[in-house]
């Protein structure tokens, strides 16, 4: 089952490798991992997408929480939450038709063209992971994908629930 684990930890050197270490040494899987400082830059927030049953999820939460640098851990997917991922995708648009088709789909998906060169469009799209995958799939049909990069999922609980220090 897909889980979203969110972690609030000290923004200290080595913290990320400790988290990654827990996942590799205990055999947990990581679909994506997204990390950056929070509004308080002494703290980092990580969002990890993993596939796990209830027992493994409980262990992941506890083992991550056990790390000295970690302040809070929560499984966001067990309650209402919002999640977003960002993708940059560069496509080669060699014909007028292709350019028009790319443009049309950018509008449909509410994506944004960030950069245009003679041969390429670089597009930004934000949404759920499924939406990003769908967009990439469509782009593959109307143009040649040169490269793409995704941030991994970033997520917050809805309402009052929050990870606070």
């Amino acid at each position: 089952m897909r889980r979203i684990i969110s972690v609030l930890m000290e923004n200290a050197p080595g913290s990320l490798s400790r988290i990654a270490g827990v996942f590799s040494q205990r055999g947990y899987n990581v679909d994506s991992l997204c990390v950056a400082p929070t509004s308080d830059d002494s703290l980092s927030r990580l969002t990890i997408i993993t596939q796990a049953d209830d027992k493994v999820t409980e262990q992941i939460t506890k083992q991550v929480n056990k790390l000295i640098d970690v302040l809070r851990v929560a499984e966001l997917s067990e309650a209402p939450h919002v999640e977003r991922e960002l993708m940059l995708i560069k496509v080669a648009t060699r014909t007028e038709i292709a350019r028009a088709e790319v443009n049309r789909n950018v509008d449909i998906f509410r994506a944004r063209i960030l950069d245009v060169t003679a041969q390429h469009y670089t597009i930004e799209i934000t949404g759920t992971s499924d939406k990003l995958s769908a967009f990439a799939h469509v782009m593959g049909h109307c143009a040649d994908i040169t490269e793409s990069a995704r941030t991994g999922v970033c997520s917050l609980s809805r309402g009052d629930r929050a990870l606070r220090p």
């Binding site: 270490g21 083992q63 000295i68 220090p165």
Partner: protein
């Protein structure tokens, strides 16, 4: 504000946290720290012969005292040589701080001479680690390291110190922190009151309770409270390999060690229990046997200071996060009205059943006329130490014989590598014990395989006049490997024998000690007497024991707790 060099700060901070002994080995990256050590007498440095030995000595010291053991090594090989010792401490939750030298900051990452990423290498086997970036951070890093190592669930902490930060020339302001509390680290010691209520109700309604005590009870110094709880409930008590001594091995409610080589009565009690009170134990695979068949009738109350230990292997019905001492006190506070006599009456049938299992006398063995049985040696050690020694053990058959045939009446007397199973642990661990308690009787129970894994430390023993008693059960083979080969590999003894055993007596003498060889039963007692009469010398007892002896009882693989082999031919 005092100005001092980074090296002086290291030593000053060690004094501040109360370090008495540092076990270490010098080298390029830590020469400045060694220079600072030279200038003082408060912190005693013990020069080992191999850094792995230093880590095990610090470990033995910590297990025997409850205080944090300290290791000081240089970068590169010095640091990596401690890794087995760190992993050993990690698996058994032993408080330890390893100060490792590092190449100068500006050379980190350049594959410099004797450079290794010690923080990276040790990451999966430490509780925490610090790579110090500024000289003025040294006191805080050391203060935090000791705080983390010996609070909550203890464990090893690495402090990596680049050489440029500790040079003896540059002076910086030294400030030792008053407070090391961390917002991200705050172990829970007190059990949740709702959980306490549930647990007490469960214990009191049980008709067949068992108290299952692990190493956590020793770490929490909870032996007295565990005994009170057990006596209040009149419940049988079993200890894990790590928990031996947390409840007296000679108490009438003690049913012995449980698990793979546990006693019949201990494992039977567990299997038939309706309530298991796990105190600082972690349902290790060497205890549970097949988890699917584990204790089918029992409600499990699991008390542990580490939330991650609870429900890791088996779902606890009543989890209680907290320190064993505090939680036992909470239990007892809710049991003031409990009438122990009524409990005795209630558990009468349960005890009748347990005594029936006890009557099987599963530890009985057949001692012939001449060839010495290993069990007999342990019994002799018990007799000649009056059951009051610190017994450090290596890993293998001798370890199990020691655990089974030497009842421990007090905590911290049984020092062994339970989790990692590190051969070569025993001798240096016994040395750590002896440094902590110079007047105590420190014994190593070892075998001809294990002792050779850190035998170089015999030299350290001479340097510091450690009167350790080395009891080596020499069966000319790797006994436990051989036992498994007999049982599971049709007796094909692949690489489990030693064809060119050294003369251990001469070896002991070469290191400046006394060596005694015993190969006949009728010499054993007299030799033991000689050995323990030597109060000021190390004695190495090379005792030739029966090569074909197996350790029993032994659980049958994939079975339940009570599926047990009782001898080569009998099983439950």
């Amino acid at each position: 504000m005092r100005m001092m060099s980074g090296a002086a700060m290291v030593v000053e901070a060690l004094k501040e946290v109360g370090v008495s002994h540092v076990f270490g080995y010098p080298g390029g990256a830590v020469l400045d720290i060694y220079d600072a050590l030279f200038a003082q007498d408060d912190v005693k440095h013990i020069l080992v012969r191999h850094e792995q030995g230093a880590a095990h000595m610090a470990d033995g010291y910590a297990r025997a005292t409850g205080r944090t053991g300290t290791v000081l090594v240089t970068s590169g090989p010095g640091a990596t040589n401690t890794l087995t010792g760190i992993a050993t401490a990690y698996m058994d939750s032993v408080p330890m701080v390893v100060l490792s030298g590092q190449v100068p900051s500006m050379h980190i990452g350049e594959d410099a001479f004797q450079e290794t990423d010690m923080v990276g290498c040790s990451r999966p086997i430490v509780k925490h680690s610090f790579l110090v970036k500024k000289t003025t951070d040294i006191p805080m890093a050391i203060a935090k390291a000791y705080y983390i190592a010996n609070t909550g669930r203890p464990g090893p902490v690495v402090v990596d110190l680049p050489k440029d930060l500790v040079n003896v020339q540059d002076k910086h302001p030294y400030v030792f922190p008053d407070d090391v509390t961390m917002r991200s680290y705050n172990p829970t010691v007190k059990g949740h009151s709702k959980q306490i209520t549930k647990a007490v109700a469960c214990m009191l309604s049980a008709k067949r309770p068992v108290i299952y005590v692990g190493g956590g009870a020793i770490i929490a110094e909870a032996d007295g409270l565990v005994t009170q709880l057990a006596e209040k409930l009149n419940a049988p008590v079993t200890c894990t390999l790590m928990g031996l001594g947390a409840f007296s091995g000679v108490h009438e409610q003690f049913v012995g060690m449980l698990g793979m080589h546990g006693l019949l009565e201990a494992n039977k009690s567990m299997h038939n229990a309706d309530c298991i009170v796990a105190l600082g134990a972690r349902f290790d695979d060497r205890v549970t046997n097949n988890v699917d068949k584990f204790c089918p009738h029992a409600d499990i109350i699991h008390v542990d200071i580490d939330p991650a230990s609870i429900s890791k292997i088996l779902k606890a019905h009543i989890p209680v996060v907290g320190s064993v001492d505090v939680v036992c006190k909470q239990f007892l506070d809710r049991m003031e009205d409990v009438d122990t006599e009524a409990q005795k009456e209630k558990l009468k049938d349960w005890w009748a059943q347990i005594n029936e299992w006890r009557a099987r006398k599963c530890l009985d063995y057949k001692q012939g006329a001449e060839v010495i049985k290993p069990q007999r040696v342990i019994e002799a050690v018990y007799k000649h130490t009056k059951g009051d020694a610190y017994i450090s053990s290596d890993v293998g058959q001798h370890q199990m014989f020691a655990a089974l045939y030497y009842p421990f009446a007090k905590p911290r007397r049984w020092i062994n590598s339970g989790g990692l199973g590190t051969m070569g642990f025993g001798l240096p661990a016994a040395m750590g014990v002896q440094f902590a308690f110079p007047d105590a009787c420190s014994v190593v129970i070892t075998g001809d395989g294990s002792i050779q894994m850190n035998i170089q430390e015999l030299s350290t023993c001479l340097q510091y006049n450690l009167p350790i008693k080395v009891i080596s059960l020499n069966n000319r083979a790797l006994g436990m490997v051989r036992q498994w080969q007999d049982m599971n590999y049709k007796g094909r003894h692949s690489c489990s024998y030693m064809d060119s055993m050294p003369d251990f007596v001469k070896l002991a003498e070469a290191y400046g000690h006394i060596g005694i060889q015993v190969d006949k039963l009728d010499q054993l007692d007299e030799a033991m007497e000689r050995c323990f009469a030597e109060k000021n010398r190390l004695v190495f007892m090379d005792i030739l024991v029966d090569q074909n002896e197996h350790v029993y009882p032994m659980q049958i693989k994939y079975g339940a707790m009570d599926d047990i082999r009782l001898s080569k031919t009998e099983r439950t």
